[in-house]
Every structure is written in structure tokens, then in C-alpha cells.
């Protein structure tokens, strides 16, 4: 017992100390006199125990702050190669490659210059990160770098492998992370470029041996944990806590004069609600897009934040498995599109970060406006809520209404199970409204949630869901958008020889027909989509228009809302943020504040 007595005193003391410390809130800060910029990196929440390595899937690295690319995407739907300069001051694109002029005076935070050797190493590493593949994918979609040549001390030429026809090559090169060879060089054997040459070898054994070799190097690279951060960006990581990262200004940055904050603090978050909390207490100088309800928007605006809207190339939709009756009939999908009031659904599901889809072409609205002619746009069916039209479409397809409920043509009651995913709160909220609307139209609808996205995707690919939520229109390019509708998920595969095959087997869960008739001409949507990947942006017009019109008529998916990229800025500590009228606002908002600063935005107040 005495033993316990002795233990008690120090414990009580510790408890008191705790209380005292709690009262003296945040005393002893080292950085009170400095200009600290606080934000959240949406794609890289701080992860305890993860290395400061951009090739690690959970790595603590922050693009545009300490992790640099040659350029930063402007998200231009008509010109995929439109980039903000990063480590590349300028570049020229040819049909076989890209020649990059590095920023004069570009230096790493250890004082050494950024050299073509760093670019060469970074391209080799990029090839080890899962892009290493052989066959058609390598030459048409992947980062098919064949050689990197130093032209002079600040100019480097990056070429596609022989026979490479990837239109996205330049854009892929510009978007790669550039890392210092002083840190990563030892992980990559000097023979790597001959291994890369083997990728294109005609002998398949040599080629696949090269893939294995590159993947092994890739594993070593992504698991690597550098002792300290060496950055060519405006900031360099000083410390990573489990819940936040502190970055200090890099005195060796090539455009130091543009960078105003002396320090950047990036907070960890595990859900949107954490970010709302930080904003409500005015902690963040800018905040990335989070899905939020109107009440939170109001309280954030009241705190003094400015809302900045820009286009986000993602769309939430309801997708069908057309091999499940009755969803194979276009009339049924069209009828459902007439029943669902997209305005009402958006108001509940994504009231701040979404606008109800209006054109229904499989692309987001801003992209549709750029690709289609005004007369084509006016010819699109807007599917405005209209229950009479829906009913007549269904009656025409042999459906009958008994009392208040619709019966399938075979006389059995029609019931829908609408599948969504736990954790995707906007889909779930939207599903509540959709099911209520379908219910009152006479189709009893049950919302079912899958526990997580991993299971959802597996089950979806296995064709287990007849009707479910899905993301479409990914990325600004029309090619990517239609790839989502008439690509792999629809059974289409692009072959090495340029042909396209369609198989009804595994991975094909959409099961749309291989032929649509639009304005009297038959088109194969999968073939057209595959062609898009091989055409330059300017040559895509006809195909994109055909696909848009066909999609609008056939409704393989019912788009519900276009996401809007809603960012917030806070001008209490800093001013001169990018705003709605800034040029390239879509691109600026797509990128992190480090890019804004490099572009001359963000000044001290």
C-alpha cells in the first residue's frame, strides 16, 4: 500500500502540469514574427511515419511547395499541352518529343543547380512507377520515354520511344515530379536506360524481363525514405508532425522574390468536416475544394472567406448495367432521366460544389460548350422533369401501370435497387431524393450502400449492380471523358495494331451496344473513343460531336450534377489571391497555392 502512496504524488503533479499547460495556450511559438501561410493539401494529407518521397503512395510531399514539375496543368479542354511554367521556363513540342528549357538559376535547396541529369533520372524513375508496360499501352497511352538527351547545361530533349504515337506525351512529361539525382541517384542502376530500351524490344521475353526489372527498381524507389527534404520549389519541408507539416521558404528558389510567405503550414485532415472546422476558426489562408452543405458555406463566408469557383472536370451520374432487364432499353433510361429532377437532387446532394447537369452529353457542361456548335447544343434533349413524357415512353416500351405502381412488360412489379457507397456522402444524400422521386412516380426504389469503394468497384466490374452511382467525365479532355463511358468498363480494348476489339467478358459491366444510330448514321462508340486517343485535339471535333449527340440520345448514364471546384481564400493575413476574373482561373485553382505564388499571386497584407 505504501508503494502506491509514493506513486501518487508525482502523478498528481503531472496532472496539475497538464492543466497549467492547457491554460497557457500556445506559449513559446518560435515563428510569431514570421509570415505563415496555412493551408491543406487535398491529395496529400499528412501521414505519420511516411517518407518525404513523392513516389510513395502515402508520402509526405507537397506539389508546388517542395515538389516541382516541369510545368503545371492549366486544365484547358481544347489544348492538353497548355501548362504554367514550373522548372521548365519554356518548351517546344514536336511530333516525337519535347525540348525543355530549364529555369535560369534553378537550384536545389542544398545549393546545387538543377541539371538535365536530374530530369533524365526523374524520367527514368517515372518509368519505374507502374508506367512500365509493354505492347500497345506503352506506345499510345503511357509515358513512353525513349531517350533523354542533354542539349546544353539548361536544355534537355525528351523523346518518345521509336514508334511512339502518344498524343499526351508532352503533357505527361511536363507533369512528372522532378527529383534531385544527389538523393535518388543511388537507387537507380546506371544500366536503367538499356533496360528501358528493352521495353520496346520485339522479343517479348526481353521486354517482360525489362518490366520486371523496372518494377523492382520502382519498389525500392517508392519505399525510400530520404533523411531530409531537398527541394527545387519555393519551400522545403522543415518538419512533419503526425498532424501538420511545416515548410520554410527555400532561399535557393529561382524566383524567390515572388514568394512572400516565409513559412507554410499544411494541416492534416481525415475528412471534409476537419477542413470546415479549420476554416470556421479562420485558421486557413486558402482551402481546397470540399463537398459541403449550405449551412457550412454560410458560416465560412461569415468568417470572412471569399469563394472562388472554377470548373472541375468530374460529373456524378447514375450508371446502368444494360445486360440487366429492363435497363438495356433506351426508352427506359430516357424515362428515368425524365423522372429524376436533377435540380432537386443536386440541391440536397451537392448544394455548394455542384450544378445540376444540363446538357447530358457525357462531358461536363463547360467542355460541351467548347466542342459543340450552338445549333448542336440547342438540339440536345435537356430531359427536363416531365412525368407524362416518362409515362408515355414506358407505355410505348410495353410497361403498364397497375394502381400506383409500374409493372415490367412481363407483368411483374418494377423495383429498383440504387447502389451507392458508404462514405460518399453526397451520393448518399442524392440517392435519398432520387429514391423518393422514383417512389412517388410508381417505381419503389431502395437505396443500398456498399461498405467501401474497394468493394463497390469490384462488385460493379463483376456486374452485380443494375443501377448505381458513378463518376464520369473525368479530366478536361474529351478522350478521357468518353473513355470512362465507352472504354475498358464497356468491354473495349485498344490493340497494338491500332484496331479496337470488343469483348463481353470480364470488366465489361456497362454492356452498351456496339452500335448507335445517330441522325441516320450508325456509329460504334467504342471505336470512336479509341480513335480520340490517337487524334490531336483539333482533329477530334467530329468524333466528339458524334459521341456527345449519341450519348445525349441513348442515355447510357444519367448525369446528375457537374462538380464545381469551389475553393476559398482568406484575405486577413495575405491579399492578392487569384479570383474569378484572373486569367486561367481553372488551372490556378486546380493547382496548389505554390503555383499561385510562382505566378505572382499572394502578397502580404
Amino acid at each position: 500500500m505504501n508503494r502506491l502512496h509514493r506513486l501518487r504524488a508525482p502523478l498528481a503533479l503531472a496532472a496539475c502540469a497538464g492543466l497549467l499547460a492547457a491554460c497557457s495556450s500556445g506559449g513559446g511559438k518560435t515563428s510569431s514574427s514570421q509570415l505563415v501561410y496555412t493551408s491543406v493539401d487535398a491529395t496529400n494529407p499528412i501521414t505519420a511515419g511516411a517518407p518525404m518521397n513523392p513516389f510513395n503512395a502515402s508520402g509526405n510531399y507537397f506539389p508546388s511547395y517542395d515538389t516541382m514539375q516541369l510545368g503545371f496543368d492549366k486544365q484547358n479542354p481544347k489544348d492538353p499541352d497548355d501548362f504554367f511554367p514550373g522548372l521548365a521556363a519554356s518548351w517546344t513540342i514536336s511530333s516525337t518529343g519535347i525540348t525543355v528549357k530549364l529555369q535560369p538559376g534553378a537550384k536545389w535547396s542544398d545549393g546545387t543547380p538543377v541539371t538535365p541529369a536530374d530530369i533524365k533520372l526523374s524520367m527514368a524513375i517515372a518509368l519505374t512507377q507502374g508506367s512500365a508496360t509493354v505492347g500497345a499501352g506503352f506506345l499510345t497511352q503511357g509515358l513512353d520515354v525513349g531517350s533523354v538527351t542533354e542539349v546544353d547545361a539548361s536544355t534537355v530533349q525528351i523523346d518518345q520511344a521509336a514508334g511512339g504515337t502518344n498524343l499526351n506525351f508532352a503533357r505527361l512529361v511536363l507533369g512528372q515530379y522532378i527529383v534531385p539525382s544527389s538523393v535518388y541517384g543511388s537507387l537507380v542502376p546506371s544500366s536503367i536506360w538499356s533496360t528501358i530500351d528493352d521495353l520496346a524490344s520485339a522479343d517479348s521475353a526481353t521486354a517482360s524481363a525489362a518490366v520486371t526489372k523496372l518494377n523492382a527498381i520502382g519498389k525500392a524507389v517508392s519505399a525510400f525514405s530520404p533523411a531530409k527534404d531537398v527541394s527545387a520549389g519555393p519551400f522545403v519541408i522543415a518538419r512533419v508532425n503526425p498532424g501538420s507539416a511545416e515548410l520554410t521558404r527555400n532561399p535557393d528558389f529561382y524566383a524567390l522574390s515572388k514568394i512572400v510567405p516565409s513559412e507554410v503550414i499544411l494541416r492534416h485532415f481525415s475528412g471534409n468536416s476537419d477542413i470546415w472546422g479549420y476554416m470556421k476558426s479562420g485558421e486557413l489562408d486558402s482551402a481546397p475544394y470540399t463537398s459541403m452543405p449550405t449551412n457550412i458555406l454560410d458560416s465560412v463566408l461569415k468568417t470572412g472567406y471569399t469563394r472562388v469557383d472554377s470548373a472541375s472536370f468530374v460529373d456524378a451520374a447514375i450508371a446502368f448495367n444494360e445486360s440487366d432487364a429492363p435497363y438495356g432499353q433506351a426508352a427506359v433510361r430516357q424515362a428515368l432521366a425524365y423522372v429524376i429532377d436533377r435540380q432537386a437532387v443536386t440541391k440536397v446532394g451537392e448544394p455548394v460544389g455542384g450544378t445540376a447537369a444540363s446538357d447530358l452529353t457525357g462531358m461536363v457542361e463547360s467542355a460541351t460548350k467548347q466542342w459543340l456548335t450552338p445549333s448542336q447544343i440547342s438540339s440536345l434533349n435537356p430531359y427536363s422533369p416531365d412525368q407524362t413524357k416518362a409515362a408515355s415512353l414506358l407505355t410505348g416500351a410495353g410497361f403498364k401501370k397497375s394502381g400506383s405502381q409500374w409493372l415490367l412488360p412481363d407483368g411483374t412489379p418494377w423495383k429498383i435497387t440504387l447502389q451507392t457507397v458508404s462514405g460518399f456522402s453526397d451520393w448518399n444524400a442524392a440517392a435519398t431524393v432520387v429514391s423518393s422521386e422514383l417512389d412517388s412516380f410508381g417505381i419503389p426504389t431502395q437505396v443500398k450502400l456498399t461498405s467501401d469503394f474497394a468493394t463497390y468497384k469490384t462488385d460493379m466490374a463483376a456486374g452485380k449492380y443494375a443501377v448505381g452511382f458513378w463518376l464520369i467525365a473525368l479530366g478536361p479532355s474529351a478522350s478521357a471523358a468518353y473513355q470512362r463511358l465507352y472504354g475498358q468498363d464497356d468491354g473495349y480494348t485498344a490493340n497494338a495494331n491500332g484496331t479496337v476489339t470488343h469483348a463481353d467478358g470480364g470488366g465489361n459491366w456497362q454492356h452498351t451496344p456496339t452500335s448507335y444510330t445517330v441522325n441516320g448514321t450508325a456509329i460504334d462508340p467504342g471505336l470512336l473513343t479509341a480513335q480520340l486517343a490517337t487524334l490531336s485535339a483539333t482533329a477530334q471535333q467530329t468524333q466528339v460531336q458524334q459521341l456527345a449527340l449519341a450519348t445525349n440520345e441513348q442515355m447510357p448514364v444519367i448525369p446528375i450534377w457537374d462538380y464545381t471546384n469551389v475553393n476559398f481564400t482568406y484575405d486577413k493575413r495575405f491579399t492578392d489571391f487569384p479570383g474569378a476574373s484572373s486569367p486561367d482561373i481553372n488551372g490556378l485553382m486546380y493547382n496548389q497555392p505554390g503555383v499561385w505564388m510562382m505566378q505572382g499571386y499572394v502578397k502580404a497584407k
Binding site: M1, L4, R8, L11, A14, A15, A17, A21, A22, G26, G27, G28, K29, T30, V36, A42, T43, T47, A48, G49, A50, N56, A57, S58, D73, Q129, G130, S131, Q141, N168, L172, G218, K219, S222, A223, S225, R239, N241, P242, G243, E246, H268, S270, D274, G277, K280, S281, V314, F424, D452, F453, A454, T455, K457, T458, D459, L471, L474, G475, A480
Partner: protein, 330 residues
């Protein structure tokens, strides 16, 4: 001493068997989960605004760390590596050793949970003794009622209420980190103060959660000791109430040690909820993220660490019991 070792050895052996059983069980359970690490990651990247090509590449790099051996071969490898103290490579952290990830997170669960447990023990046992002695008065009733209440209240409800009051409403305490990031970690005043300040909410939650259990157990233990003959004899002999109370508490505190082990398990399991509400980066959070990301090695590792802690706590409780109660040493 010899008796102590004779008592300890079989316990240790049983503990090892238990750890093996739990490790095997979790290994197979975890691999029975639907979905795979790649699928879990891809759409999350897309939703966060990453272009498809980049998301694809990131997922591909994760895929490289997913084992494609047959399950039994994986199991044999897992146990073999476990014997060498190797928990394998995390998938969602692209091959970072699991031990490394756990080592970074473990202190942020162990320190608040232990601090909460100790505070709860001190307050709970004193309160329990008081509640037993004063069980006829109104305060005694209120005290034991408070014990039942906090023993029953779900962990996350308590955490939500605390977070709402102290962070959202009154903005007194921070959450979402372990300390102010601008402070240099180490043994210096401001850093330690900041760590304690950031830990107040989780510690308070753990303490309140454990408090009820200690109070109720202590109360019933004291009541049963009070009815024992030797106390009656002491009362008849006219011993001072304080001396009598010392007899009582010394005897009543014994059963508490068996409860200690159970509390540890309860708190560590509950850390998933507490850390989720406060976004506190401990083991519970790591485990929760790992389940979502289908990171099998990390999940098994976190499970195993919690199990080992519970088994160890059992053994320690048993030993303490032996040291304190001479009757057990026979």
C-alpha cells in the same frame, strides 16, 4: 522469487500461444476482406482531383507491394517473419516497414490512454470507496450513479460532446495534431506544454470512460470487504475509523488489478473511435485507415500490437496481484 518465476513462466507461454492464435486469426480474417488495395485507392485520388493517369500510376505502384502468392504460403511467410520481429511492408505506404509506421503512431495512443487510465484509477477508486462508505447518503447515490453513467456511455458520444463543447463552442482546446508544428520536438518546455495541451481532450475522454468501471468495481469491492468478519472485529475492538478504512481499502483494492488488464484492452479498442473524433494520429487512426485502404500487413500489425499490449497487461496485472497479495503466493 522462485515461486514468482514458476508462476510467470506458464503465463508467458500461454501469452505467446494467445498472440500466435490472434495473429493467425487476424491474418486470415484480414485476407478475407473483399476488394484490394489498388481499387480502394484509385477513385479516392480521382475524387481528390488527381488526373486519371497520375492516379493510375500511383495505384500501380501500390500494386507492386501487394503479395500475389497463395494464401498459405503468405501465411507461412508472415509467421516466419513475425518470429524475426518483422511485420512486413505496408501496402498503402508503398513498402515502408509496418514497424516503422506503428512506431510513429504508437506513442500517441499509449501516452493518452495510459494517462487517462491512471487519472481514472486515482479518481475512480477514491470515488468508489467514498460511494461505498456513504452509500446511504444522497451524495453516495449520485457518485455511484455517475460511475454507472460514464461506464455505460459510448466512447464516441462522450468524445463528440467534449469536442463540441471544448473545441467548437468555446474554442479552448485544439484538436487534429499532437503539438504545434512550429515547436522543436524534444525535452523542452513549450513543446511538452503543447503536447499536453493537444492531448487534453483524448486524455479526458479516456479518463471519463475508464472512471466508471473503476468506481463501480471499487465500490462493490469495498462493500463486500466491509461485510467481512475482520472488519466487524476491528469495529468491535473500537479501532479508529481511519485505521479501519485503511484495512478496508487495502483489501478492497486487490480485485482491481484483474480489471486493469481488461481496461487496457477496452481503451485500446476504443482508441479507434476517440482518435477518429479528435482526428488524433494514434494507432486507432492508423488501424482505421489501414482497413479502408485494405493494407493487410498494416492491419495485421496494428491488430497484433493491440493484442500484445492486452496480453502483457494481463501478465503484469497477474504479477502485481502476486506481489501485493501474499495469499496468492502460496
Amino acid at each position: 522469487m522462485k515461486t514468482l518465476i514458476r508462476r510467470l513462466l506458464p503465463k508467458l507461454a500461454a501469452g505467446l500461444v494467445m498472440i500466435w492464435a490472434v495473429a493467425s486469426f487476424t491474418f486470415f480474417l484480414v485476407h478475407a476482406l473483399p476488394g484490394n488495395p489498388g481499387d480502394a485507392a484509385y477513385e479516392n485520388y480521382i475524387l481528390a482531383g488527381m488526373p486519371p493517369e497520375q492516379a493510375q500510376a500511383k495505384v500501380a505502384s501500390i500494386y507492386g507491394f501487394t503479395s500475389h502468392d497463395p494464401l498459405l504460403a503468405q501465411y507461412r511467410g508472415y509467421i516466419w517473419r513475425l518470429l524475426h520481429g518483422d511485420l512486413g511492408q505496408s501496402i498503402s505506404y508503398s513498402g515502408v516497414p509496418v514497424t516503422h509506421v506503428l512506431r510513429a503512431a504508437a506513442p500517441w495512443t499509449i501516452f493518452p490512454a495510459l494517462a487517462g487510465l491512471i487519472i481514472a484509477f486515482l479518481v475512480g477508486t477514491s470515488g468508489g470507496a467514498l460511494a461505498a462508505v456513504k452509500r446511504s447518503s444522497r451524495w453516495g447515490g449520485v457518485l455511484s450513479m455517475s460511475g454507472s453513467f460514464f461506464a455505460g456511455i459510448p466512447a464516441f458520444v462522450l468524445a463528440l460532446v467534449l469536442a463540441f463543447l471544448f473545441h467548437t463552442e468555446w474554442n479552448l482546446l485544439p484538436y487534429g495534431d499532437t503539438s504545434d508544428v512550429t515547436l522543436t520536438p524534444g525535452f523542452n518546455g513549450p513543446y511538452i506544454a503543447s503536447v499536453i495541451q493537444h492531448a487534453v481532450l483524448p486524455v479526458a475522454t479516456y479518463a471519463l470512460l475508464a472512471y466508471g468501471g473503476w468506481l463501480l468495481t471499487m465500490k462493490s469491492s469495498v462493500i463486500s470487504v466491509l461485510g467481512d468478519d475482520f472488519i466487524l472485529a476491528a469495529e468491535l475492538r473500537g479501532l479508529h475509523p481511519r485505521t479501519r478504512m485503511r484495512y478496508v481499502s487495502r483489501n478492497a483494492i486487490l480485485p482491481m488489478f484483474t480489471m486493469f488488464a481488461l481496461s487496457i484492452g477496452y481503451l485500446l479498442g476504443g482508441s479507434v473511435l476517440v482518435e477518429n473524433v479528435f482526428d488524433y494520429p494514434g494507432l486507432g487512426n492508423v488501424l482505421f485507415q489501414a482497413i479502408g485502404a485494405r493494407d493487410y500487413p498494416l492491419m495485421s500489425g496494428a491488430f497484433l500490437l493491440i493484442t500484445v499490449a492486452i496480453v502483457l497487461a494481463n501478465i503484469v496485472a497477474d504479477l502485481l496481484y502476486t506481489v501485493i497479495d501474499p495469499r496468492v503466493r502460496r
